[in-house]
Amino acid sequence: MSNDFNAIEITPELIAEHGITEEEREVLMNIMGRMPTYTELGIFSVMWSEHCSYKSSRFWLKTLPTEGPQVICGPGENAGVVDIGDGQAAIFKMESHNHPSYIEPYQGAATGVGGIMRDVFTMGARPIANLNALRFGSPDHPKTRHLVSGVVAGIGGYGNCMGVPTVGGETTFHPSYNGNILVNAMTIGLANADKIFYSKASGIGNPVVYVGSKTGRDGIHGATMASAEFDDNSDEKRPTVQVGDPFAEKLLLEACLELMAGDSIISIQDMGAAGLTSSSVEMADKGEVGIELWLDKVPMREEGMTPYELMLSESQERMLMVLKPGREEEARKIFEKWELDFAVIGTVTDTRHLVLKWDGEVVGDIPVPPLVDASPMYERPWEPTPKAVEIDAASVAAPSSLTGALKQMIGSPNMASKRWIWEQYDHLVMGETIQSPGGDAAVVRIPGKTKGIATSSDCNPVYVKADPIEGGKQAVAECWRNITATGAKPLAITNNMNFGNPERPNIMGQFVGAIKGMSEACIALDFPVVSGNVSLYNETKGEGILPTPVIGGIGVIADVAKSMNMALKNADEELVLIGETKGHMGSTLYLREIEGREEGTPPVVDLAVERRNGDFIRDLIDAGLVSACHDLSDGGLACAVTDMAMAGKLGATLSLTDSGLGNHVALFAEDQGRYLLSTANADKILEKAAASGVPATIVGKTGGDALTLGDGDAISLAELVDAHEGWLPNYMAQEA
């Protein structure tokens, strides 16, 4: 009977349909020494997929700096772990759900959020903050509105129900994402540093336990679906879309944390992509043991499920655990209290094989080490990205009106307020949100403490496209800067590498360049990589997306009451610019929005300067010398002061002294490593700056209800707010 499951004849075509190349097939045949069964073929196919094996990226990922005294656990586990003092650890990671979100925006985004939260709580952490980095196509593309509304509702739908505040993220639009949006979700969790759970299985004979929701035929690979049999309604094409059940996940979270408070768990692993396959293989591999699974014992949602389907299903809200012997009942009680399925579905063995049984009969048997180690790793050919043209600032024409240009920029899709989005996210639940979305970095307090975590996600893909190395550096630097602007000390990052087809040497060159730039910045800023995710093949009709290595960083601030934000608070204060303005105009927002040109080298990040300026800012904030602080990024000085004025509902005047650059260049250049401060202590700050060799200049004053550039070019705050706050709601209101 059980053999029926594997009755399907394995042909070279079927193997190819499973995405296994000829070369890989050779390796597979050597490992098995025989034709794989249908179930085994499915397992190889998912384990050796780009998604699970990182076959194109692994070689380069290994070059990222991952160490530092703060790092408890770097890449290789479900999420990265860093020490935040007091015996506590922050556990965090970012993950993409790009393709599913394009197919079904609500469920795709929702299950993305669910997946990343499981990665974090499987390690023993309670999630305390979520972020999301979104990239959509051009606003006038017919699908964009629908995608924005679905993705945002999905992220909110899942995170809100879980009771985890969504405190930050980023959202930009660019035509390169028209057919391939990006949905990257990040979760930060809090755990005791001495109570972190890993996936390594151990203890021959120990029970392997399945908990959570039942397994259905969700997300079983499209290509393989074609050859699978349907038991009913075969005319109805079965959707491969996964539907999230945030309520089940909330129960799973509480049940897992309750069980984790005791000592019965040896190892635990969420079932994410490739579900039961990757979780069991990973546990066995890490523990250098074997695992035997009794698939007929798996809680099933549908009748007639096959081993193939059970092993490949991507049903959500499930976990696999190895328990200490004899602790099953204690665990079962907890999961039953939370009304979740609980089943002992296997045992740890000493064979180092993954053995699958159905009613006692073997339906699959694969040696684990080669399944994992012999998985392909490619050093794909790559070419460096040709140098972009240098834009001479003197060649960039001045706008007819500076305030007019400013208004246009601040109301452009990429700069416009994303309030419409983050007001759909519960950013306050848990009662610890100290800095809400809309600022440089969000700040959440650690329950029961004065300290908090600052977090931000960043990437400027236009920079990365123009120069992957500088762009990669810049993404890390900007994240570090955003965290610094709140007064927090940056600790570590996660990342999501979203790129096109790695089989194209120019795309692979973007990937390699970005990794190099990121590495440099991480080292210079003591900001190691502790986790991450890679999403390749993001392209439609042969056109890749802009290379988008999203950086998600966290930092710690000892006393959240001292954390700084960008809102201007007092009139008649001095505005002090920290950092040097050289007048870099290439790849800037000004060039794109005002001149309609997307070209030119991106600004260079001088990492030593970056660090010096940032450390200086942090000291000023800590010394209480600053009343508002904002880093300068897209749109330069003018956009920064506008953000600060709008946030504080208080006007400001920038005095335009002749810098030799031209006013529009001084205002809109995107030189790096800069911050704008509002302060009543300008003298002291200038003095300190001089002593530390940090460039600092008084550039204006706070007050009034308008923004004034130079001697009289003024625009009311109300008008700016309208442009800035109005764009997205107006755009979405035309929903059709």
Binding site: G156, N160, K250, Q424, L428, M430, V560
Partner: protein, 229 residues
């Protein structure tokens, strides 16, 4: 003041509620699981926010039928004070301890922001520390906060001073533009006939710390402590 906080599967603002109750009363509330059929002897029962049963079917529907809610209803009859916030309000209407229903927000979107609220009745055990007409700011965070009742019921609520709070602007003006979810007559919170049960969509428990951006929510908790201790 002794208090209890009821927990359902999917409740998620319990810690926020506990923090507020503890700050105001100096003692930790007792936690009561949804399956309980008996409640501890307390002065106040709080049903916190969240997504009990995932908000599936209707928000608050399944929690409203749980064993513990029968006990809560008995306590309500006996005059014990009960406050339901957000999902708690939805549950209280589903249990019929409060009239009306909470429907999907008129704009259909979840909304999380600080909202201005007008204290309509300052002579209740929940609001005595405020002045009538005072404008306070609490956050809202809900998808189904659109209060509905037929006009007879609404007239009765108004006539009997049972509208506790309304959505308004910073100056206390109650208008269609300040109605952030489509609620009938801008209603944000109501009382039962006896005045011992309050349901409200906004979250006073997320406005008790200067670092929350304001402490307007404290007044509600200190009112209860004063009345119930």
């Amino acid at each position: 003041m002794k208090s209890a906080v009821i927990l359902f599967p999917g409740t998620n603002r319990e810690n926020d509620a506990i923090a507020a109750l503890e700050q105001a009363s100096g003692s930790k509330p007792q936690l009561v699981w949804h399956g309980e059929t008996e409640l501890p002897k307390v002065d106040l029962i709080m049903i916190p926010g969240g997504f009990s049963y995932g908000d599936y079917l209707r928000s608050g529907a399944m929690a409203g039928k749980s064993p513990v809610m029968r006990a809560v209803a008995d306590q309500a009859k006996a005059g014990v004070s009960i406050i339901g916030v957000c999902n708690g309000f939805q549950i209280l209407t589903e249990t019929h301890l409060l009239p009306g229903a909470l429907m999907r927000n008129a704009h259909l979107k979840f909304i999380c922001k600080r909202a201005a609220l007008k204290i309509e009745n300052a002579e209740t055990r929940f609001t005595s520390k405020y002045d009538a007409g005072q404008v306070v700011k609490y956050p809202v965070a809900h998808h189904d906060g659109n209060y509905f009742a037929d006009s007879e019921t609404l007239d009765r609520l108004e006539g009997e001073g049972r509208v506790a709070l309304r959505y308004c602007d910073d100056d206390g003006v109650v208008a269609p533009e300040t109605n952030l979810n489509g609620s009938q007559r801008n209603i944000a919170g109501i009382l039962n006939e006896k005045g011992n049960v309050l349901g409200m969509m906004p979250h006073p428990e997320n406005a008790i710390d200067p670092l929350h951006g304001g402490i307007d929510g404290r007044g509600l908790f200190s009112s209860m402590v004063e009345a119930l201790s």
